[in-house]
């Protein structure tokens, strides 16, 4: 069945203020409003800078996941790969006394290597990416335990520069890198040949193959990129916590996928937006912070998180149907 939003002309499709953001923005604003009413301190600069400094690692990982979902794959290994990369970073800094830039590169390379492994197995043996990355989830976690000797490594201020808030603005360099990743990711997706080919691979792999494009190369690059971004997430995470924890990122794959899918990217491939992924990340982050601030009990947190995830997507479905609230906004904006 044709997707309704597919008929939106491209000029609108590539503009930054696309009507299609309104559904998610609405959900986000509703959450912020709700928590602001519930807690007198929620709507404050401190809350938002804190939140902004917490999201970089989830954001970059979700950007990588967006690409993977667009090519109709999935990457379950991001959490483990993040932990392994962070562990390697810790090892390099503590046991090898490497300088930060070198350790950082090692960390990114570790992520890249894991991603490339995923991509290679997926393309070489056409094994479903679910299985390959599930395997990698276990392997990289095992690797993280091996590298750290199953111990949390405290690193201290050596890595602080990555994620510490810059004086004055209280925002961290990691945040700026994450935002740059989102912007570049969106441009890559909507403005470059590679991006269009990713979308094409996710829609009709055979047609892409027949037009002489190397499908395997695209897949390999996308999985590698997702691995690299998981490594970057590891770097941010270690910088933020100033320690390398081999148990970091357990369950992160589901949060990342949730953010991406809440952002409207289809699990069946061929469709997605990096900017919307950022909105998905924000919805999840605001929800977590807000629930903690109002002091919700653990069972309530779970139930509410579940309901909000479902509700956000239902809202999104309505938005995409003609006549919904979203289309009202859309029309409003167009005129």
């Amino acid at each position: 069945m044709p997707q309704p939003d597919e008929k939106v002309p491209l000029t609108q499709r590539t503009g930054i203020f696309r009507g299609e953001y309104f559904g998610l923005l609405g959900a986000l604003l509703a959450l912020i409003l709700f928590f602001s009413v519930q807690s007198e301190y929620f709507f404050s600069v401190l809350t938002f800078t804190t939140l902004a400094n917490q999201i970089p690692s989830l954001t970059v990982i979700a950007v990588g996941m967006t690409f993977v979902l667009i090519i109709a794959g999935i990457d379950l290994s991001v959490g483990s790969v993040m932990a392994l990369s962070g562990s390697v970073l810790g090892l390099a800094l503590l046991d090898m006394n490497a300088p930060l830039w070198f350790a950082g590169i090692l960390c990114l390379m570790t992520g890249l290597a894991c991603g490339a492994f995923n991509g290679l197995v997926v393309t070489r043996w056409s094994v479903p990416s679910f299985i390959v990355t599930l395997g990698m989830l276990e392997i990289a976690r095992g690797g993280a335990y091996l590298v750290t000797g199953s111990q949390t490594k405290y690193i201290g201020s050596t890595v602080e520069s990555v994620s510490a808030p810059l004086p004055g603005i209280n925002l961290s360099p990691a945040l700026f890198v994450a935002i740059a990743t989102v912007v570049l990711g969106q441009l890559l997706l909507s403005r470059t040949v590679f991006g269009r080919r990713m979308i094409a691979v996710g829609t009709n792999e055979e047609a892409v193959h027949l037009s002489g494009v190397n499908v395997s190369r695209i897949k390999l690059m996308v999985f590698s990129l997702a691995g690299l971004l998981a490594g970057l997430g590891g770097l941010f995470q270690v910088g933020y916590l100033q320690s390398a924890d081999p148990n970091a990122g357990i369950g992160l794959e589901l949060s990342a996928i949730a953010a991406v899918v809440v952002g409207g990217t289809s699990l069946s491939g061929g469709k997605g937006s990096v900017v919307n992924t950022l909105l998905g990340v924000l919805i999840i982050a605001v929800l977590q912070t807000g629930l903690a601030q109002i002091g919700a009990t653990e069972p309530m947190k779970r139930v509410i998180t579940g309901l909000v995830i479902i509700a956000a997507v239902i809202l999104d479905v309505y938005r995409n149907r003609s006549g919904g609230i979203g289309s009202y906004f859309k029309r409003f904006f167009k005129s």
Partner: protein, 502 residues
Amino acid sequence: MSAKLLSVSELHKRYAVPVLEGVNFDVAPGQVHALVGANGAGKTTLCRIICGLTPHDAGNMQIEGIAYHPESVVDAEGHGVRIVMQEPHLIDTLSIGENLFFSELPKRRGVIDFDRLYDQSRRALESIGLQGLDPKQNVGSLGIGQRQLIEIARVLIHPCRILILDEPTAALTDPQIDLLFKKIEELKAQGTGIIYVSHRISEFKRIADDITVLKNGQSVSTSRVADLNADEIVRLMAGDLEQGQQQAILSDISSAIRVRNLSDSLLNNVNLDIHYGEILGLAGLIGSGRTELLRAIFGADRIDDGHLMLEDCDDQLIFESPQEGIRHGIGLIPEDRSRQGLLQDRSITSNMSLASMQNFRQALGWIDKEMEQTSVEAYRQKLEINCTGISQSVSELSGGNQQKVIISRWLMKDCKVLLFDEPTRGIDIQTREAIYRLLYDLAAQGKAIVIVSSEIQELTTICDRIAVLSNGQLTADFQRDEWSAEKIMAASFSAYTDDAAA
């Protein structure tokens, strides 16, 4: 001398069974070489081999006397060989423009130059008569005819030495066919060699120079088109045919469905009566709304306004889902078999019995496999489906045979009203006759038949009545003795104020 651009000799190919068993023919530059043969004769396989999609088992190919063994499509394209495939291979989530220029999107400073892309696309669309289409629109929302045209345009924008067209006109209406033929003439003038596969024999006289007939995987004859008439071609590929006989029209035609004031985004206040015992044709140009009308009647699409009335009852109905349509005895054979019909990779049996599982249902939902197989086997024989057995996967069937499976699905269902959307798309002449006979039988049994076809000649041959849609409006309703191809054409154009759709 330049007599041979491409020469193919003793080509062999087998899948589970031999498909090609010695094919020989030559293509000269500036020549159109037609390939004909029954469904499953191996035409598509042959084309796929020439353009590097499928490897062959034995035999030789040469281009201008030099051995040619393409290892991939890219390799073949390097040799100047390009193909328009039987099934469009488009990317639904990308725009028309992006599809047209997919392998060479124009770039400026590393990013896609969309302005240039859409300029180029507009020009390409004009050249195939689709100037009404917005190149920024996504391909996913197009009908099969437009998809086919875009597939053709996508190939024609590249220069090539050898062009293969595998049933390019199967879903096209006459104006587009004229444009395509003009394009082919231009290519001929430039010295391109063209291989042209079609089941519409009348087309050969217009553009082909030579014709090769494939039968059971062998090239049984090659001759000048001018030296053969249509009957001889048919005889060569299929043996003698009994011509379809127009049955006597039932004297007591009764109303089956009355469509009243039907409107939606495309359709505009359509009123139409469908009768039991009658074969009604729906003519119109690509995008005129024929598919949309059938789907609206069937319940597959939401409509904005209007209603249906069944038989003599004056209850105003609208079907909300295909289930409701089916419950009221209506069946729809969709136009796009691969997207709307086939269960790819599943067996012929699973595909054919999909709509009538309840016929084979025993206690506890158990399937009576024996009964199912008997029934499927019966239709396989009736429609002469060329396969290794009814458990073969439909993905391995030739295009025409896939179409027969879908038709059988609905014949098996036994509906009172059958809506056929391009039923004979890609079906060979022999089977076509069989299907026509089947339609006559169905009508004679008192069923109501509606046929959408892009071939006016087909409609004029089999229909009792022909209605014409133009730009979503019903512009004519001809009885058998009233129509002519010219009148139908004129009615098809009449509701377009500008010539956008021509």
